[in-house]
C-alpha cells in the first residue's frame, strides 16, 4: 500500500466522516482529536524540530481560549476576528518566552516554560475582573458566517478539519524551507550550526512564536466548541497529553503528532467504553508504558522503519533521537 494511496484514503475518510461515523459522539471525539492535532503539531515544532521541550504549552492554548472567549463575549467581536487575534495573543506570549528563555537551553528552558504556565494559570484564577476567575466564562458563542451557524457538530467538524489542514500545511511549509533546515541543524548540533552562521536564538524565537500562534488558534477553536472556558485549560495534564501525542506519535515528523493526537484522544474514550471507571486511568498509564517500550522512537518512525526493512533497501540510519538534555 503506497504512502500516497494511504494518504488519499485517509483524507477521504476524514472528509466524509460525518456520513459514516456511527454517532454524533464519535464526531465529538474526532473534533477534539482535530483540536489536539493542531496543538500537537505546534508543540512538535519546538520539541521535534528545534529540540526544545516546552512544558508550558498549555499556557498558549489557554491564552488563545481566553482571548477568543473574552473578545466575543465581552467585546462582541465576530469569531472570525477573534480567532486570529487569539493566535496573535498567544504568539506574543510565545515571543516573550522565546526572548526571555531561549538564551537558556535544555532543562532551564523547560523550567521557565513550566513557571510561565504556572504564573498564567494563577493569574487566570485570581484576576477576577478580567477572567471571572474560577467561575469561568460560560456562554461563549458559536461561530457564525452570515446566515450559517457553526453550532452544529457537523459544521464545526469541517471548521476544525479545515483549521487542522491549514496548520499541517503551515508546519510543512516551514519545515521544508530553509528555516526548517535551520531548526534541524540547531537540534542536532547547535555549536556547529552557529558556526555556519545560523543564529540560534533568532530561529528558536521564530519557532516559539509560530508554535504559540498555532496553539492559540487551537485554544480559540476549543473555546467556541465547548462554549465554556475556565482556568482548567491551563492544567498541566493538557501539556502532558500534548507531549505524549508528539513523542508517541513520532516527534520530528509531520504526521507523527497527528497520528498521536488521533490515538490519544480516542484511547481514553475507548477505555471509557471498555472498562469501568476505576480501571480507566490505570489502563491508560499501562498502555502508554507498553507503547513506548515497543515503539521507543514513536509510532510513525517505527512503522516507516518496518516498511523500509521489509523492502530490504539499504538505508543508512539517520539519528533522530535528540541528544541528551
Amino acid at each position: 500500500m503506497s504512502r500516497r494511496l494511504l494518504g488519499a484514503a485517509g483524507a477521504l475518510a476524514l472528509l466524509t466522516a460525518p456520513a459514516w461515523l456511527a454517532s454524533p459522539y464519535h464526531l465529538h471525539v474526532l473534533i477534539m482529536a482535530g483540536i489536539f492535532a493542531i496543538l500537537a503539531s505546534s508543540l512538535n515544532l519546538l520539541l521535534g524540530y528545534t529540540g526544545q521541550l516546552s512544558l508550558g504549552h498549555a499556557a498558549f492554548f489557554g491564552i488563545g481560549a481566553y482571548a477568543s472567549a473574552l473578545l466575543t463575549l465581552k467585546s462582541g467581536w465576530s469569531f472570525w476576528l477573534a480567532l486570529p487575534c487569539a493566535g496573535i495573543a498567544a504568539a506574543l506570549a510565545g515571543w516573550a518566552i522565546g526572548r526571555l528563555a531561549l538564551k537558556l537551553r535544555g532543562a532551564y528552558f523547560v523550567l521557565v516554560t513550566i513557571s510561565f504556565a504556572g504564573v498564567v494559570s494563577l493569574v487566570s484564577i485570581n484576576w477576577m475582573d478580567l477572567t471571572n476567575g474560577p467561575l469561568g466564562l460560560p456562554g461563549v458563542p458559536a461561530p457564525e458566517l452570515g446566515p450559517w451557524s457553526f453550532r452544529t457538530k457537523r459544521a464545526f467538524y469541517y471548521l476544525v478539519l479545515a483549521a487542522a489542514g491549514l496548520a499541517y500545511l503551515v508546519c510543512r511549509r516551514l519545515v521544508r524551507s530553509r528555516i526548517g533546515r535551520a531548526f534541524v541543524a540547531l537540534r542536532e548540533n547547535e555549536a556547529l550550526a552557529e558556526s555556519v552562521g545560523i543564529d540560534g536564538t533568532r530561529y528558536l524565537v521564530l519557532a516559539a512564536v509560530v508554535s504559540a500562534a498555532l496553539a492559540g488558534v487551537a485554544g480559540s477553536l476549543y473555546a467556541h466548541y465547548t462554549r465554556f472556558v475556565s482556568p482548567e485549560v491551563f492544567l498541566f495534564s493538557y501539556t502532558v497529553t500534548m507531549v505524549i501525542m508528539v513523542v508517541a506519535g513520532g516527534q520530528g515528523t509531520l504526521m507523527g503528532p497527528i497520528v498521536g493526537a488521533l490515538l490519544f484522544t480516542a484511547l481514553p474514550e475507548a477505555l471509557r467504553e471498555a472498562l469501568s471507571w476505576q480501571w480507566q486511568m490505570l489502563a491508560y498509564g499501562v498502555v502508554l508504558i507498553v507503547l513506548v517500550f515497543f515503539l521507543p522512537r514513536g509510532i510513525l518512525p517505527t512503522f516507516a522503519r518496518w516498511r523500509r526493512s521489509r523492502a530490504s533497501a539499504a538505508v543508512t540510519a539517520v539519528p533522530d533521537a535528540r541528544p541528551g538534555c
Binding site: 465529538h28 485570581n126 467561575l135 462554549r227 482548567e232 480516542a266 467504553e273 471507571w277 480507566q280 486511568m281
Partner: protein, 389 residues
C-alpha cells in the same frame, strides 16, 4: 513478530470506541451519573456515587419504576470540565440516558450544560453551588443543592445568637469558595457585622500558615472557612499550632465533622459546621425514618461514616429523578423534564420542590434545601450550644 502483533493491537485499541452501543429489549430505565471519581476530590465524588447506588438498590427492591429496573450508568469526570462535557455526550448519545445527575463541581456542571441543551436532556445538580448555574437560562437544569446565597440565608437567624462582631474569611480559591465569601459577606454586612480579611488557598495547598498568620493579625472574633474536609483539617491543625483563638464556622457542607474529629482531634473542638444532612441524629431530619434507614444501610455496606454528609446527595438526586420518571410515566427526556416541575416529596435533606430561577421563559429549577448547623463538643457532634436554652 510478537512485538509487531502487540503493537498493532495497541494502536487499533481506540477503534473500540467505534463499536455501536447494543440495543435492549425489556430495557431497564437508565440514569446517567457524572462525578469526579479520580483526581483531588475523588473521595467526595465516590461518596455521592455510593449514595446514588443505595437509592438505586432501594428502588429496585421495591419493584423498580413502573415495573422496570433502574440502572445507573456511572462516568468519571476526572475533575476536568472537558471530561465532564465528554462524559455527558457519551451518556446521552451512546448510552441513550433520558436524564443525568451531576457533575459535582460547578465548573464541571457548567461545562456539561451546553450538551444538555443540545440534546434536550435534563440534569439534576446535586452538589454545585455557583449561583450562575440556575441563572443562565438553561431549562434543563434542576438543582437540589443550595447556592451560596441560600446557604447564607440559612445561617442568618443565628447571627445574633452567635454574637458575631467581626468576621474573617478563608476559602478555597474556586467558584465555590469565592461565591461563599461574597454571599456570607453580604449577609453579615446586612446585620452590621464587620468583615475583615478574606484570604484564599489553592485547592491543592497544604500549608496555610501564611494565610493564618495574616488572619490572626486581622483580629476578628470569627473565622468563616469554606473548603473540603482535608483542607479544613489542615487549617484547624495549623491554626492550633499558631494559637489562633476564635470561633470557627465552616460552610459548604463538605466539612464532614466526623472525619474532622478523627483527623484534627482537639483542634476541632468547639467549631461550628453548616451541613445539609445530620447522620448523628437522623431522627431530627425532616423524614427521620428515611434518614435513619439510610444511615443504617450505609453503615451496613461498610462505607465510612464520614462520607454520609456527602453521600446523601447522591441518594436525593436519584430519588428526585425516579420521582420524575414515575410522574412522567415513561423514560423520555422531555417528559422527565416536564415531570421534574411537578416533583414534590421529602428526600433525605428535606422537601424537594422546584421553583423557577433565572431569565423568564428559560427558567431552571431550584429547590429550597434545608440548612442545619452543628457543633463539635467534647469530641462529638452535637447541636450548637447557642440553641440550648
Amino acid at each position: 513478530m510478537l512485538k509487531r502483533a502487540i503493537v498493532t493491537v495497541l494502536t487499533l485499541l481506540p477503534a473500540l470506541a467505534l463499536i455501536p452501543a447494543a440495543g435492549d429489549a425489556q430495557a431497564p430505565i437508565k440514569i446517567g451519573v457524572i462525578e469526579p471519581l479520580s483526581g483531588p476530590v475523588a473521595a467526595s465524588g465516590n461518596y455521592v456515587r455510593m449514595g446514588a447506588e443505595i437509592a438505586r438498590d432501594w428502588i429496585n427492591a421495591r419493584g423498580g419504576i413502573g415495573g422496570r429496573r433502574l440502572e445507573l450508568v456511572i462516568e468519571d469526570n476526572k475533575s476536568d470540565p472537558k471530561e465532564a462535557a465528554s462524559a455527558a455526550e457519551k451518556l446521552i448519545v451512546r448510552d441513550k440516558v433520558p436524564a443525568i445527575m451531576g457533575a459535582w463541581g460547578s465548573s464541571m456542571t457548567l461545562a456539561a450544560m451546553p450538551k444538555l441543551e443540545e440534546y434536550g436532556v435534563p440534569m439534576v445538580v446535586e452538589t454545585s453551588s455557583a449561583g450562575s448555574i440556575t441563572k443562565r437560562g438553561n431549562p434543563w437544569i434542576f438543582r437540589i443543592s443550595p447556592p451560596s446565597d441560600m446557604e447564607a440565608l440559612g445561617l442568618e437567624s443565628y447571627v445574633d445568637k452567635l454574637g458575631l462582631k467581626k468576621a474573617d474569611f478563608l476559602a478555597v480559591n474556586t467558584d465555590w469558595g469565592r461565591g461563599s465569601i461574597s454571599a456570607f459577606g453580604d449577609m453579615l454586612k446586612k446585620h452590621g457585622v464587620q468583615v475583615g480579611a478574606a484570604e484564599f488557598m489553592e485547592q491543592s495547598a497544604t500549608d496555610m500558615n501564611a494565610q493564618l498568620t495574616k488572619i490572626k493579625a486581622a483580629g476578628g472574633d470569627t473565622l468563616f472557612l469554606t473548603t473540603a474536609v482535608e483542607q479544613i483539617t489542615l487549617v484547624l491543625k495549623q491554626g492550633q499550632e499558631q494559637r489562633l483563638q476564635r470561633k470557627i464556622i465552616t460552610t459548604g457542607g463538605s466539612s464532614s465533622p466526623t472525619q474532622l474529629i478523627k483527623q484534627a482531634g482537639a483542634a476541632a473542638e468547639g467549631t461550628y459546621h453548616i451541613v445539609f444532612f445530620m447522620p448523628w441524629f437522623p431522627e431530627a431530619m425532616p423524614d427521620g425514618k428515611l434518614a435513619k434507614a439510610f444511615v443504617d444501610e450505609w453503615t451496613k455496606r461498610g462505607h465510612p461514616f464520614e462520607g454520609l454528609t456527602e453521600g446523601f446527595r447522591g441518594h436525593d438526586g436519584i430519588a428526585t429523578l425516579a420521582e420524575a420518571v414515575k410522574i412522567a410515566g415513561k423514560d423520555d427526556a422531555a417528559a422527565i423534564r416536564d415531570a421534574l416541575w411537578k416533583v414534590n416529596f421529602t428526600a433525605l435533606n428535606g422537601p424537594v420542590k422546584f421553583d423557577k430561577d433565572g431569565p423568564a421563559g428559560k427558567e431552571s429549577g431550584q429547590s429550597k434545601p434545608s440548612i442545619f448547623v452543628v457543633q463539635i463538643r467534647d469530641g462529638k457532634v452535637a447541636l450548637p450550644d447557642f440553641l440550648k436554652k
